[in-house]
């Protein structure tokens, strides 16, 4: 991977909400086509990391770098246009809009009509269930279906990097596995995945590399295998005594 340039990078990022210091000197890099995961306890700043990557939160110091360009003061739309997309925490579909409208909104910034059509077809073949329910209001879908639409909506932006905030949260245990298979499948299409997860075991077994965040600081940064083997991590995150 290191022969390539990273798509997205954090260089010594600090973020504040008001006076509260959330992210502290965080460094990250996401390379094309890889799958990485960010672990950490509640309120450690994982969602904030994603929002800062996408530009919905502006860092107080440090640099967010996209394709070698510092994009600190560029709006979210600039980053979405350049292939960064997020599947938000809890899916957050537009509940009163139809499934199709949700998907179309994912492609909001795209101007290539043919490409959008093609991607719609691709999503229909990926999720046949979604195709059956195009005119249904997204809020009336089941949890599993909502997850598919949320991923479909993100894919409609034709991303290079997919940021996923706890994709298995709130899913029935039987669906969690399916869900990870889906993510794997998307990854195999060459899309880089940056995943925030509480389910560390599952996430690490798929990912190439990972970071562990503790109260806003990166405390571990290693390959997934090394993290899986790390005794401290096993203790605190993988539920081993």
């Amino acid at each position: 991977m290191s022969d390539q340039k990273p798509i997205l990078e954090f260089r010594d990022i600090n973020t504040h909400y008001g006076a509260v210091h959330i992210l502290k000197e965080v460094n990250l890099a996401i390379y094309p086509g890889e799958m990485v995961c960010l672990l950490g306890g509640n309120a450690s700043g994982k969602s904030t990391t994603l929002k800062t990557l996408l530009g919905m939160v502006t860092p107080t110091s440090g640099e967010v770098v996209l394709d070698g360009e510092v994009v600190n003061d560029k709006p979210t739309s600039y980053r979405v246009e350049r292939g960064i997309t997020m599947v938000p925490e809890n899916r957050r579909l537009f509940k009163r809009l139809s499934v199709l409208e949700n998907l179309q909104l994912g492609a909001y910034l795209r101007t290539d009509k043919d490409g959008v059509e093609r991607d719609l077809e691709r999503i229909y073949s990926m999720f046949p269930r979604v195709k059956e329910r195009l005119s249904q209001k997204a809020g009336t879908l089941s949890g599993g279906e909502q997850q598919m639409v949320a991923m479909g909506r993100a894919l409609m932006a034709d991303p290079r990097v997919l940021l996923m905030d706890e994709p298995s949260m709130g899913l029935a245990p039987s669906l969690v596995r399916t869900n990870f298979e889906l993510i794997q499948q998307i990854h195999e299409e060459g899309i880089a995945i940056f995943m925030v997860e509480q389910n560390a075991n599952m996430a690490l077994s798929l990912a190439d590399r990972g970071w562990v965040l503790q109260t806003g600081r990166v405390v571990l940064d290693d390959t997934a295998d090394a993290l899986l083997a790390n005794p401290e991590l096993r203790k605190s995150y993988l539920g081993e005594a």
């Binding site: 996408l54 919905m56 709006p75 979210t76 739309s77 980053r79 979405v80 246009e81 997020m86 938000p88 957050r92 537009f94 509940k95 009163r96 809009l97 139809s98 409208e101 179309q104 909104l105 994912g106 909001y108 910034l109 990926m126 999720f127 046949p128 269930r129 209001k137 809020g139 009336t140 879908l141 089941s142 949890g143 599993g144 279906e145 598919m148 909506r153 932006a157 029935a172 669906l175 596995r177 399916t178 298979e181 889906l182 499948q185």
Partner: protein, 598 residues
């Protein structure tokens, strides 16, 4: 809804007494409230049926009928036992009515004994007089049998064959409507004059004939045919539907063009007022209904439209305008007005738009007032003449015809053109990329941002489009009224437009049209009379009652936006689906397996 609920038979007096007490108490409270609000006295001079019935008495009679009907109404759910309809329903209705009548009787006796006229203006001999039909105090007790009888009729509607019940309701409504809308009916179709006496009071003989016609219509199956035509239209799809819709639009347009030709001034004036408020409501519908920005100061843009047009066209515009400042014809002023309104929209919108929900509502409320007070202020007196306003706004001159207030028909045609334009624009916007972005922002602003939508710009766009539509309305208003005063732009205007949008069904264009017709046409605008002129002093009371009832019973509005209906009535949908045995509650998802996903 047919259920498998078990039917049980109950004795005539085996009633749910708590429900009787609740509904009876409500009836009594309602009647006392109506009496003390002054409706019986105020509306007594409006005779509906010559010699027999005044609107004042109708205001006291209708409630028992409806409450009696509600008494017999049951909500049936699967597994519950249902009661077989029997004379019990009529008895229940009668009890409810009797309690209501008792309330009125007690009120009469109290008015006779105590004097509370100081806080309650209508605690008066006149009220007592109406309650006793001009007889002695003791006569008030006849309200008990009267209301009981009405309640019994209401309850009995449940056991009558459906056709009989429908025919009864149709007859009552036909007669009442014909009587109440007398002025309007004669204004539109003057030959119908013969139905009424000199003072536009319906003649008893004709009232009976009308009732008979209504009954005949129901029994000949006329209602069903109408319903069938409607259902057919709903079920057609594809090009056939487009054709039918197009035909419908052409026919409505033709009707709208022809009516003012045949109808009199009252109708023309009414239609012009409806149009002016429709334009405003269409604009606010974009802001509130589509983009979800609760703007309570929308009247500001109406005022800006009105004042800009007045300043640019009137010779009386205030002395401090520089000499080079032009005087333009109306359509020239309109162009400038649109630009000014957009700029004001941007100017007000920019700081406000970053706020959310409640804060935004309060701040816009403030801006609405600030704009009016600026026009009123001494500081700008040299430009806008303060409270004197700007008079002598000339008619809008289009060469071939002039639009002026004394010719409401011309105003209506002008409004019609702008309304058609605005409806078209709203409709196109709703299905455009921008419209979709508005809805996304309304649904979930931060996710919309994550999709790459520039939420600030998108919301500003809604604000500006809304401002432009309101300024059209203001410009036409200026030409119509011929003068512009700060008092034409009270906060009440904002509220009434918002009520139109809510009652019509947020985000639904048809709903906004229906809302304008019903509210402005029937009840009237803030200062403009509606069809029910007699009710104008109770206008706000009725608006309020309507809004409350709407929120409780039909939160989706009169003509709902399909999108919202589902969400708001989800429980009922689920219940229906469950009863039909097609459970899909959207909660559990056992069916998604790996195989399906791949």
């Amino acid at each position: 809804m047919t259920t498998t609920a078990e039917l049980v038979t109950k004795g005539a007096f085996d009633l749910d007494w708590r429900k009787v007490a609740r509904l009876g108490g409500l009836t009594a409270l309602g009647l006392v409230f109506i009496a003390l609000a002054g409706m019986p006295v105020g509306l007594d001079s409006r005779i509906l049926i010559e010699k027999y019935l005044s609107l004042g008495y109708v205001s006291l009679l209708w409630l028992s009928l409806i409450m009696g009907w509600l008494m017999g109404k049951e909500t049936l759910l699967e597994g519950m036992t249902a009661t077989r309809k029997s004379s019990r329903d009529a008895v229940g209705g009668a009890c409810v009515g009797a309690l209501g009548g008792l309330g009125l009787a007690i009120l009469g006796l109290l008015i006779n004994t105590f004097d509370l006229r100081d806080p309650l203006v209508n605690w008066s001999p006149q009220t007592l007089d109406i309650l006793t039909f001009g007889g002695g105090v003791g006569v008030v007790v006849v309200w008990i049998p009267i209301c009981a009888a009405l309640g019994a009729v209401g309850g009995a509607l449940h056991l009558a064959p459906p056709k009989v019940a429908k025919a009864t309701i149709a007859a009552i409504l036909t007669v009442l409507m014909t009587a109440i809308f007398a002025t309007f009916i004669v204004d539109v179709v003057s030959p119908l004059d013969f139905l009424y006496s000199k003072n536009r009071e319906l003649k008893l003989g004709w009232a009976l004939v009308l009732a008979a016609v209504a009954v005949g219509f129901v029994f000949s199956g006329g209602g069903q045919q109408l319903a069938r035509v409607k259902a057919d239209y709903h079920n057609t799809t594809g090009p056939a539907k487009t054709r039918q819709t197009a035909a419908l639009i052409v026919v409505s347009a033709a009707v709208l063009i022809i009516i003012p030709q045949v109808a009199g001034k009252i109708t023309q004036e009414l239609m012009a007022n409806i149009g002016i408020f429709l334009l405003l409501a269409l604009g606010l519908n974009i802001v509130v209904g589509m983009a979800g920005i609760l703007d309570l100061g929308y009247v500001a843009f109406f005022a800006v439209g009105g004042y800009t047009t007045a300043v640019l066209t009137s010779p009386n515009r205030g002395e401090d305008w520089p000499g080079w400042f032009p005087t333009l014809p109306w359509w020239g002023a309109l162009m400038v007005t649109v630009v000014v309104a957009s700029l004001v929209g941007l100017f007000i919108g920019a700081p406000v738009i970053r706020m959310r929900g409640d804060y935004l509502a309060i701040v816009t409320l403030g801006f609405g007032e600030i704009i009016r007070i600026l026009f009123l202020s001494d500081w700008l007196n040299g430009y806008f003449n303060g409270a004197q306003g700007i008079t002598n706004v000339p008619p809008a001159d289009f060469g071939v015809f002039e639009v002026k207030g004394t010719d409401p028909r011309s105003v209506f045609y002008l409004v019609l053109v702008f309304a058609a334009l605005s409806i078209y624009v709203s409709w196109r916007l709703e299905h455009s990329r921008l419209g979709r972005a508005w809805m996304a922002v309304r649904e979930d602003e931060s996710v919309a941002e994550a999709m790459g939508i520039n939420t600030v710009n998108v919301k500003l766009a809604a604000f500006v489009v809304g401002a432009i539509l309101a300024s059209f309305s203001g410009a036409i208003f200026a030409a119509k009224v011929g003068s512009i005063f700060p008092t034409s732009f009270l906060i009440l205007v904002s509220i009434i437009i918002l009520v139109i949008v809510i009652v019509g069904g947020m985000g639904s264009i048809l709903g906004v049209i229906a809302g304008s017709v019903v509210l402005v046409g029937i009840l009237g605008g803030p200062k403009q009379p509606g069809l029910l002129q007699e009710f104008s002093q109770y206008k706000l009371l009725i608006y309020g009652a309507l809004l409350v009832w709407m929120m409780l019973q039909r939160p989706e509005g009169l003509v709902p936006n399909v999108r919202r209906t589902r969400e708001l009535h989800q429980d009922e949908f689920l219940q229906d689906a469950w009863l039909k045995g097609q459970v899909d509650t959207g909660e559990e998802e056992p069916a998604v397996e790996g195989g399906e996903v791949r």
